[in-house]
């Protein structure tokens, strides 16, 4: 193992060292999962009875379920009794200067072009009052309040807007949906809640970045976004900076509801710790993301750039219930070293003249495995439904794998479903051509890969796209030669 890997390991583990042992009042409960733990979580969060009931129902359902094994993934056994399911927002060890931070991490930040102040925030270095995120948040919240937009932590929403949470929670992803979804529904820690009122066009990109406690939402994150009639919102999740966490298992749920004429654009950059170059460590990321185009002419668009995690299991989907509603999925998934990704989308066409687009770009390097898994389902009433799917795989080297599993299920004869798939490699000719123009091998690959992924990157908000490009380059470092 190289020195840098050792440093990486030490850094990830050092979080563990400091995470739970602290002088402040410990808000951590015992390891393990049972009904008492679920009750305790609910109680600690001062939740109303209906939410506790919801959690308990989910827990009971989860106990009867088995972990899914259909994905093209090798998942080591997970001991669910060896996990701590509740820890209050914990204080990260506060460092006094960036010099105390792992130099490799700083190097990555610099490559990403993350500002010094932001680097401090991400690494837990104390920041000075001027850029204190509290003041940023205050300005931000005031602007949103003017439009009647609610954007807060999930726990806050439970206290402040229980009627909205109760109405929509589980309405798109019921607790019975799947194994990890049931687990999340039983023990979800925190997350984001967002409501855009009728006819409001949210004037800015909503980013979890602006939510102070975003850094500590924990391993069972829950997000609920409701766009009321005729509203619009663009929502950004995650950030390009490397995300480290002592929790190996992550099982999040994101639910989106778009009412009549509403549009929600959801962009993700996921860069959890992928494990070291030998495949040790790394986050297991089991996510259920689903949007419901509830009303006519509504639209939900998912864009994701997935570069992190040791294991990714994720299928952002759209249920196209309203007539003329539109679902989109744009994805770039990069796997390197020993990473595994099984990701794709589901488009469920229920309403008339519903349209969906899937563009998936997989990039595999090292000894990684990258699978696209997608389902397009046209129900019998979805007259005039259309889908176009394009799944491209790019292989770097000859020890990685790319796999495509498309499922198409049409019950209406008027539907038009198209599926295109390609697999390609970066050719020696392309590399030589770029190098002859003065680019080194890694820059050349980064350029070629970014070109390959451009269709998806173009869907991201501008500044996110620039960061994502750099991220792709960094994720593939060391994949040649």
């Amino acid at each position: 193992m190289s020195d840098s890997n050792q440093i990486l390991d030490e850094v990830t583990q050092s979080d563990y060292k400091y995470g739970f042992v602290s002088n402040i009042e410990t808000e951590t409960i015992e390891k393990g999962l049972n009904e008492d733990v679920v009750r305790l979580i609910s109680m600690k969060k001062k939740e109303p009875d209906w939410l506790l009931d919801y959690r308990l129902k989910a827990f009971r359902k989860w106990q009867q379920m088995d972990m899914p094994d259909w994905a093209h993934l090798k998942i080591p056994p997970i001991d669910f009794q060896n996990i701590i399911y509740y820890a209050a927002p914990k204080k990260k060890e506060t460092l006094t200067s960036l010099e105390e931070v792992d130099p490799e991490l700083i190097d990555t930040f610099n490559k990403l072009g993350i500002s010094l102040e932001e680097q401090k925030r991400l690494t837990g270095v104390a920041v000075d009052a001027v850029i204190d995120s509290v003041s940023v948040k205050t300005t931000f919240t005031a602007t949103l309040a003017k439009y009647g937009i609610i954007f807060c932590s999930f726990s806050e929403a439970v206290q402040e807007h229980p009627e909205l949470v109760r109405k929509y929670l589980g309405s798109v992803v019921p607790y019975t949906d799947n194994y990890f979804g049931a687990l999340n529904s039983a023990v979800f820690s925190d997350g984001s809640f967002c409501y855009i009122p009728k006819g409001v066009r949210c004037p800015m990109e909503l980013s979890t970045y602006f939510r102070i406690n975003a850094a500590n939402t924990g391993q069972f994150e829950r997000t609920l976004i409701v766009a009321d009639e005729g509203s619009y919102v663009s929502y950004l999740e995650g950030c390009t900076a490397p995300q480290r966490d002592e929790n190996q298992l992550h099982a999040a749920i994101v639910e989106i509801i778009a009412h009549k004429d509403a549009e929600v654009k959801y962009s993700t950059v996921q860069n959890w710790y992928p494990g070291d170059k030998e495949g040790r460590g790394g986050i297991y990321n089991f996510v259920t993301k689903r949007g419901l185009c509830e009303g006519a002419n509504s639209k939900i668009s998912w864009t994701q750039v997935e570069t992190g995690s040791a294991i990714t299991w994720k299928y952002p989907s759209c249920v196209l219930k309203g007539d003329n509603s539109v679902g989109e999925f744009y994805s770039v998934a990069v796997t390197n070293n020993y990473q595994q990704a099984d990701t794709g989308s589901k488009m469920i066409h229920l309403g008339k003249n519903t349209r969906s687009t899937i563009v998936s770009k997989g990039i595999s390097a090292g000894r990684s495995h990258n699978s696209y898994r997608g389902q397009v389902k046209i129900n019998k009433n979805a007259t005039g439904a259309r889908n176009f799917s394009q799944c491209d795989s790019l292989l770097l080297g000859d020890r990685c794998g790319a796999h495509t599993f498309p499922y198409i299920d049409t019950k209406n004869a008027s539907a038009i479903v198209e599926h295109e798939a390609t697999t390609s490699r970066i050719s020696d000719d392309q590399l030589f051509y770029c190098q002859q123009r003065g680019l080194d091998a890694e820059k050349s690959i980064s350029l070629i890969v970014n070109g390959y992924a451009r269709e998806v990157l173009n869907q991201l908000p501008m500044e996110f796209a620039v960061e994502a490009q750099k991220l792709l380059a960094i994720s593939l470092e060391g994949s040649v030669g």
Partner: protein
Amino acid sequence: MLEIKDLHVSIQGKEILKGLNLSVKPGEVHAIMGPNGTGKSTLANVITGRDIYDNISGEIIYKGKNLMEMAIEDRAREGIFLSFQYPVEIPGVSITNFMRAAMDEIYLYRGKKPMSGGEFLKYFNEKKQFVEMTANLANRSVNEGFSGGEKKKNEIFQMAMLNPDLAILDETDSGLDIDALRIVANGVNKLRTPENATIVITHYQRLLDYIVPDFVHVLYGGKIVKTGGKELALELEDKGYEWIKDHADIQL
């Protein structure tokens, strides 16, 4: 500027270049002619550093430096440019972005401050005139869906952008109609200075009507067997490569 001595190159056990010598000075244009399969493109590949050969021996000195020890990209950054016979497509990468990335790298290598966005665009638009590039072409992905002529124009455009000290044109005339040939050749001529040098690799004499060489070398059987002025090209065109066998400067 470039000194090649006793260059031997083999691929898959077969020797392609068998003791080639070549000397190029600043301000000169050298034409390398010869029948197919005689090692013309191999010469271009070896100078630029393409790593597909089993065995390379001999000496290539460029501006006093041993080229054999330099990476492909460093040779390019030192001012060596190859106009490809078959330019490859790079989908999704616009020519603008491609050139921006290349120039930034070259400037960094040379210890110069990379151009600002505005400076770059101005420079870019200026150079487009060299090969009468349409605005539209510059926004397209590198070589994707280009016609043969567009690809070659794009190569010379890149040459104008990178302003190399040593340019190697590998069969730049192939696939060009007469108008495109003139545009491309004019571009090359306008880029000529007393400081830079050009090696024109070609099968036919046609291109040399437009890009007039100072020296013509005939590459045959892995060696340069005859060297002359521009009239040698005409003689070759007239008499064919069979003729060279009896009129080589060296023992074949």
